[in-house]
């Protein structure tokens, strides 16, 4: 499929498949179309041409609101809503009991004391974990995470990576976008490499280097070399 943006094409004839049993990392330089591709999965964007399928169904034919609850999304910048942590979780599920809320927080690595805290007083890492818990409140079948650690410190980054791996182990496949090559090496089971609006390579992490065609291998080397931080 393709997606034309106001400032030119953002995705060009992308064809690809995301396996739904593991942690897939979507890697590529900024502007490669990773976030756009992810937003298509949650239907915050729609393709200009082509079809997005979720478990065989054309996403365009499904009820967008129901789909978004099945395909959860965590964004790059944490966006806690006004009110307490509990209020935040109840935006996702209005009938949520406090006990169930604490359960969700624990899945996202926050303890029970957070439930009454104000959402806008959390640190960046805590806020991002709240956003993860909030997304988990809809009981998604798949989780899309758009550079979820880009604005976080080292410790929070590690916590979130471990959490994502844990979710996959417990049956919620995760698609994780990053331009951080080292992070990809740490967490990926499957890798999709994107560049300039296209998926240029797809492989399990163990076979990535062996299977990449020369152009993609050079590109991956560049990406690793450009890791300034």
């Amino acid at each position: 499929m393709s997606l034309d943006g106001p400032d030119g094409s953002r995705l060009r004839d992308v064809t690809g498949e995301v396996p739904d049993y593991c942690l897939t990392v979507l890697v590529g330089p900024s502007g490669a179309g990773k976030s756009t591709l992810l937003r298509l999965g949650n239907r915050l964007d729609v393709p200009s041409s082509g079809t997005v399928r979720f478990r065989g169904d054309d996403v365009g034919a499904l009820d967008p609101l129901a789909l978004r609850r099945r395909v959860g999304m965590v964004f790059q910048r944490p966006s806690p809503f006004a009110g307490t942590v509990l209020d935040n979780l109840r935006v996702a599920r209005p009938d949520l009991s406090e006990g169930a809320a604490i359960g969700l927080l624990e899945r996202a690595g926050l303890d029970a004391t957070f439930v009454r805290r104000a959402g806008d007083e959390l640190s960046g890492g805590e806020a991002q974990r709240l956003c993860l818990a909030r997304t988990l409140a809809t009981e998604p079948e798949v989780l899309l995470m758009d550079e979820p650690t880009a604005s976080l410190d080292h410790r929070s980054r590690t916590v979130l990576e471990v959490l994502a791996r844990g979710l996959v182990d417990r049956g919620v496949p995760v698609v994780w976008v990053t331009h951080d090559f080292a992070q990809m090496r740490r967490i990926a089971q499957q890798v999709l490499v994107m560049d300039r609006g296209r998926i240029v390579h797809a492989a399990p992490i163990g076979e990535l280097d062996r299977s990449a065609p020369p152009a993609v291998a050079r590109f991956l080397d560049d990406l690793a070399a450009n890791e300034g931080d």
Binding site: L44, P64, F75, R77, S79, T135, T138
Partner: protein, 259 residues
């Protein structure tokens, strides 16, 4: 009845001279603007007065008064559009907002017999209704647009949780509406204590008994309150509709170019 006559008007223009003098003294550079504004006010009011005299003529058809109201609505809708250019489709929205307010407000005033329906009541009441709602309408259109643009992350996070667009936008809409309405409510509270409002001042100057003027003024305040809440609500809901697609996606909003 009090009449000041043309001599009275000319003498009162001394106050314009005071304004000009102050501008000159403090080097404000506003002399041309002040002079032009004063001149325009007189010419515009004179023109309106002549037309109103014709519309209010006992032999004139009431249709002229309605036509006048329609023209006021059109001009106001265009003013709203110009003052909030970034908001798409605002002319049609403002037009329908003023239209709905006219039905509600004039419906109560004339339908329930508060005032007799004649040109002399219809034109000024419609004018009050529209004129006072104008600023709040512009404000709420801009606020809804800016809230949804500046809180794009939060709005999309709500959409991503499966909330329909009206629920995803609700907190920001509420905030915008409260911001637009609170000044009006404050003004209504302070009336009489801080300011003697325009209608009452005019009536008293024209020789009407204060208690009679008070009754009219209170009704006028209710007109303003009713029309401001109606127009702002219609515009806020309309702007929200335009900023989301049918399938609950937020339309990408342009930010003002940095200055």
């Amino acid at each position: 009845m009090t009449e000041i006559g043309w001599e009275g008007l000319a003498v009162s223009a001394l106050l314009v001279v005071v304004a000009l003098g102050l501008s000159r003294w403090r080097h404000l550079g506003l002399e041309r603007s002040i002079g032009w504004a004063a001149l325009r006010a007189v010419v515009q009011l004179a023109a309106v007065g002549l037309v109103l005299a014709a519309v209010f003529d006992a032999n004139a058809s009431l249709a002229w008064a309605w036509l006048w109201v329609a023209a006021m609505v059109m001009v106001s809708a265009e003013t709203v559009r110009r003052r909030a250019r970034e908001v798409p489709g605002l002319f049609a929205l403002a037009l329908s907002a003023f239209g709905v307010a006219a039905v509600v407000v004039l419906g109560v005033l004339f339908g329930l017999g508060v005032f007799d329906l004649e040109a002399r009541t219809l034109v000024p009441l419609a004018g009050l209704m529209i004129g006072n709602a104008l600023a709040a309408t512009v404000l709420v259109a801009r606020r809804v647009y800016e809230e949804l643009r500046d809180r794009e992350d939060e709005v999309e996070a709500r959409l991503a949780l499966g909330l329909p667009s009206d629920e995803a936008a609700a907190p920001y809409l509420r905030h915008a509406l409260r911001t637009a309405l609170i000044p009006q409510i404050e003004t209504t509270k302070a009336v009489g204590l801080v300011v003697l409002p325009g209608a009452m001042t005019g009536l008293i100057l024209a020789g009407v008994e204060p208690l009679d003027a008070v009754q009219v003024q209170a009704a006028v305040m209710f007109v303003v309150l009713g029309s401001v809440t109606t127009t702002t609500t219609v515009v806020a809901l309309g702007v929200r509709r335009r900023l989301f697609t049918e399938d609950h996606r937020l339309v990408r909003l342009t930010r003002p170019t940095s200055r």
